[in-house]
């Protein structure tokens, strides 16, 4: 059967766009190898000093650990909240579901800068009450990140629930299973993949969150993106190039592994 394929003009234009998309990611590689202290192209000799400074400078390590801690906490919170909410929607199909889901998705559609001002208001308001939870604390940042990631987690879990056959739940119900048993022993094992994906996406979104983080941290809770931001705004530090190369390599590896797995699943 003949198929409609893109012609030469389409292919050339698409190749130009592809080049545009990859260019800035490739550009950081030579910069990361410069022996200079400043952001320049290496002329002649190459050096790994900026990679070494990532390990030796405690600021980078501290902020990486902090970002991991915040990411794990906020991912756990947003996955649990999204899961219970989605189970409620799917199992009971209450009235006003559309409105309630719409409300939950708000942080995803409201411009991030407005969410940032909102969370800044919240955290500065509660700062007076406690010292460990509020503006510029890691718990405050983790909670704020949960607000931002919970809509994405909810969408993923609702999508995987929508592909689940209702009859298995009806059967469990008919056999006398309680709500708890239906949720934990019938429904959740069948949407494992969706739950894990939601947790991973929440972690990744928190790990790279900068728009909101800028508004709610100052000197204590310096996450990795916040530290990169400081390095980018003031005097550009080539260590950021080294870090960017590492992050890009990790992304490419994860995507490659994922595409191999999905291909294997597709052709058993």
């Amino acid at each position: 059967m003949p198929t409609y394929r893109p012609g030469p003009v389409s292919l050339i234009l698409a190749a130009l766009v592809a080049l545009f998309l990859l260019m800035p990611l490739l550009a950081v590689i030579p910069v990361s190898l410069t022996p200079s202290r400043m952001l320049t192209m290496p002329t002649g000799e190459l050096s790994l000093r900026h990679y070494r400074s990532l390990i030796e400078d405690p600021r980078w390590l501290d902020s990486i650990l902090l970002s991991i801690r915040i990411g794990v906490a906020s991912s756990a919170l947003s996955t649990v909240l999204a899961l219970t909410f989605s189970l409620g929607v799917w199992m009971f199909q209450p009235r006003f579901t559309a409105a309630l889901v719409g409300f939950v998705l708000l942080p995803m559609v409201v411009p991030p800068v407005v969410s940032a001002v909102t969370l800044y208001f919240l955290l500065t308001s509660v700062s007076g009450l406690t010292s460990f939870f509020g503006y510029d604390t890691w718990l405050g940042v983790a909670m704020a990140h949960s607000v931002m990631t919970v809509p994405f987690a909810t969408v993923l879990i609702l999508v995987s629930l929508s592909q689940l056959d209702r009859r298995i739940d009806l059967a469990a119900r008919g056999l006398g299973a309680s709500v708890w048993e239906r949720a934990t022993r019938v429904i959740m094992p069948n949407i494992k993949f969706g739950i894990v994906t939601a947790a991973l996406l929440s972690f990744v979104l928190s790990w790279e969150e900068i728009g909101v983080t800028l508004f709610i941290t100052s000197v204590n809770a310096i996450t990795l993106p916040r530290l990169m931001w400081m390095g980018l705004r003031d005097n550009i530090d080539p260590a950021i190039a080294a870090l960017s190369v590492i992050l890009i390599v990790i992304t490419v590896l994860v995507l490659a592994v994922r595409s191999v797995i999905t291909r294997q699943k597709a052709s058993p």
Partner: protein
């Protein structure tokens, strides 16, 4: 009767934690921001009046709309070109296009903005190269201006613009295209008079998403604009942290939300949400 009662309480019990969390951590503080816009520094509509009369605020609003419009045009056009190959290309072409779309999509906005700094700055890749081949003697100013902002934002938004277009192109009936070709229409003519009109809903959805995203953009303009081409989001940040004027920052936020909400309402009048995914 008892069944429905326990159903209702079960649903409430499961759905309540997230709803309570978002009311306390999002809805309530948003109302607080709205309150700021009416009460700081003095109660009244002063900040909204300032929005309409302040020259700086006005010029930032106009610049934001202009940049958002240009970025939308650039991103949707570029996304269209690569999506055609991602959806309709041969297997190898598809894999390559998918790689070029998804890798940038998953890389953080900071890394991508930094990549553009490395390319475009005075001692960056492009200027170094152009000088070494003797094409220019003085470095070109490619960042810390509107050009850098537009390039960086378009780069960020192209993958987002791809998804609605891809869904429109996938649902298109291939036989119509083959019929047009079979009846003697040239490649160009088939593309412009059959293919493009049939993906209209994707183009609208893609343009709306790009435009709405560009309005609230913060990180890329702040890094690539270098404080010289300030957009709305950066103005809010400056009003809150540099010249503490929380009332004005809050008022701009409220206006931005209302504006984006109106645009979304307009979008959903023309395109069903399902057509966007």
């Amino acid at each position: 009767m008892r069944g429905t009662l326990s159903d209702r309480s079960g649903a409430a019990l499961l759905m309540a934690p997230l709803l309570i969390f978002l009311v306390l951590a999002y809805a309530w503080p948003f109302l607080g921001v709205v309150k700021w816009s009416f009460t700081l520094p003095t109660p009244g509509l002063g900040q909204y009046h300032a929005l309409l009369t302040d020259d700086l605020v006005q010029s930032v609003f106009i610049r934001t709309l202009r940049i958002a419009a240009i970025v939308t045009l650039v991103s949707v056009t570029a996304a269209y070109a690569i999506t055609v190959v991602w959806v309709r290309g041969s297997t190898v072409q598809r894999v390559l296009a998918e790689f070029c779309i998804l890798v940038p999509f998953w890389i953080s906005v900071l890394t991508r903005a930094f990549g553009w700094v490395a390319l475009l700055s005075n001692r960056g890749l492009i200027n170094t190269w152009l000088q070494s081949i003797g094409f220019i003697s003085e470095p070109l100013t490619l960042v810390r201006n509107e050009f850098g902002v537009i390039v960086g934002m378009s780069h960020f938004l192209i993958p987002f613009a791809v998804f609605p277009l891809a869904s429109a192109m996938r649902s298109l009936d291939e036989r119509v295209l083959l019929a047009a070709r079979g009846l003697g229409s040239s490649r160009m003519r088939t593309f412009w008079t059959v293919f493009v009109p049939m993906t209209r809903s994707g183009i609208i959805g893609s343009a709306m998403i790009t435009f709405v995203f560009s309005l609230g953009f913060f990180v890329t303009p702040a890094i690539l604009g270098g404080g010289r081409s300030v957009m709305i989001a950066e103005l809010i940040y400056l009003r809150i942290f540099q010249s503490p004027d929380w009332g004005l920052g809050a008022a701009i936020s409220v206006v931005l939300v209302v504006f984006v909400g109106a645009l979304m309402a307009l979008l959903f009048r023309y395109v069903k949400p399902k057509q966007l995914v």
